[in-house]
């Protein structure tokens, strides 16, 4: 079971999650950020969103694995899965090994937030979770950033029962 220490600094009024500064936002902001990335696809907006998700989530995972001495890849994937839910991002099922694997999202803040805001869509929008999944696999198997490619194969936002992300070695 993931150990999470939420703190609120009485002086700065900043939140932290296991010592990492965090902030609350809502599905409107996430949906608009996702759309902004798509609107600026010509300068690599979607790639940037995925990479930023990977790069900002990775330090939380690495420090958790070190602090709590999480030894195996399987256990580390589980840490990622639990963090995903704690952050309000949805319900994740994750499996795989150092060669890659699969992520299933039975609930997703990004997809369900998009639907709540704009309704169903005709293409995948869960770029954030692809970056998150890449971070979880890289942290689980001690690989550098961009070691894994995460690609959506099904999505709640287009009407599928769940979002499915395939993770492969880059």
């Amino acid at each position: 079971m993931l150990k999470v220490d939420f703190t609120f600094d009485d002086k700065t009024y900043r939140h932290a999650m296991n010592g990492h500064e965090s902030v609350l936002h809502c599905h409107h902001y996430m949906s608009l950020t996702t759309k902004l990335a798509e609107d600026f696809a010509d300068v690599g907006g979607v790639r940037i969103l995925r990479e930023v998700a990977e790069d900002s989530i990775r330090p939380l995972l690495d420090s958790y694995h070190q602090t709590h001495r999480v030894p195996t890849g399987d256990e580390r994937l589980e840490v990622g899965r639990e963090y995903y839910s704690v952050m309000g991002l949805g319900e994740m099922e994750i499996s795989g090994d150092e060669t890659g694997g699969q992520v299933k999202l039975h609930h997703s803040h990004v997809d369900e937030g998009w639907i709540k805001k704009w309704g169903k869509h005709d293409r995948f929008v869960n770029h954030f979770s692809c970056g998150f999944a890449a971070a979880v696999f890289a942290a689980a198997f001690d690989r550098p950033a961009r070691s894994y490619l995460a690609k959506e194969k099904a999505s709640i936002v287009i009407g599928d029962e769940m979002t499915v992300i395939a993770v492969t070695q880059a």
Partner: protein, 194 residues
Amino acid sequence: MTVMRDQVVKALAKLEVKGNEDGLIPAFGVLVNQLPSSFWNMFAERMMEAVPRERKGEMESALVNCAYECGYHTGWGIINSEEFKAVVMPMVTEGAKDVLRGAYAVFTAWGWAKSGIVQIREAERMVVRAVDYYEMDSGGSGNRAYMIRGVSSAFFELAYADAYPDGMDTYTCTQTLGVECGDKFGEFVVEPKS
């Protein structure tokens, strides 16, 4: 009595914000997430870096707009939520001004900025100052508080523009000072759009 920011912040900050059995956080009429603040800062900075000089203004406006639209709808959810009614409304004695002060207290409790309203001329002008805000850590040069700008104009519209959802596009917010630029605090001025 008027809205006591610190009292509201402490009451709201104590509420546990954590995913439910679906891994989602429904609150204030929206789905909430709690992410590392580095995610939002890094995204803004890398997007700004990615565009050529002649498109920096376009990107800046797009980043402000994300927060603006979010602030308008979420702000409405906040001031009509059970949480707001329970914690803030008992202190409201000055109508729209106090509701606005309460909305800024929630703004602070969410970890966006340690901020407060220093001047309100009803329906005309508002000045907000923040001594600490996560966007001041973004690392870019110049004023970087896109989120505070967007949310500030949205909150002022909720208080003084046409009733929700018809009040958008009435006010604009300019950042006049920034901790990220060496100033002691960030300052944000909301005025009618010209």
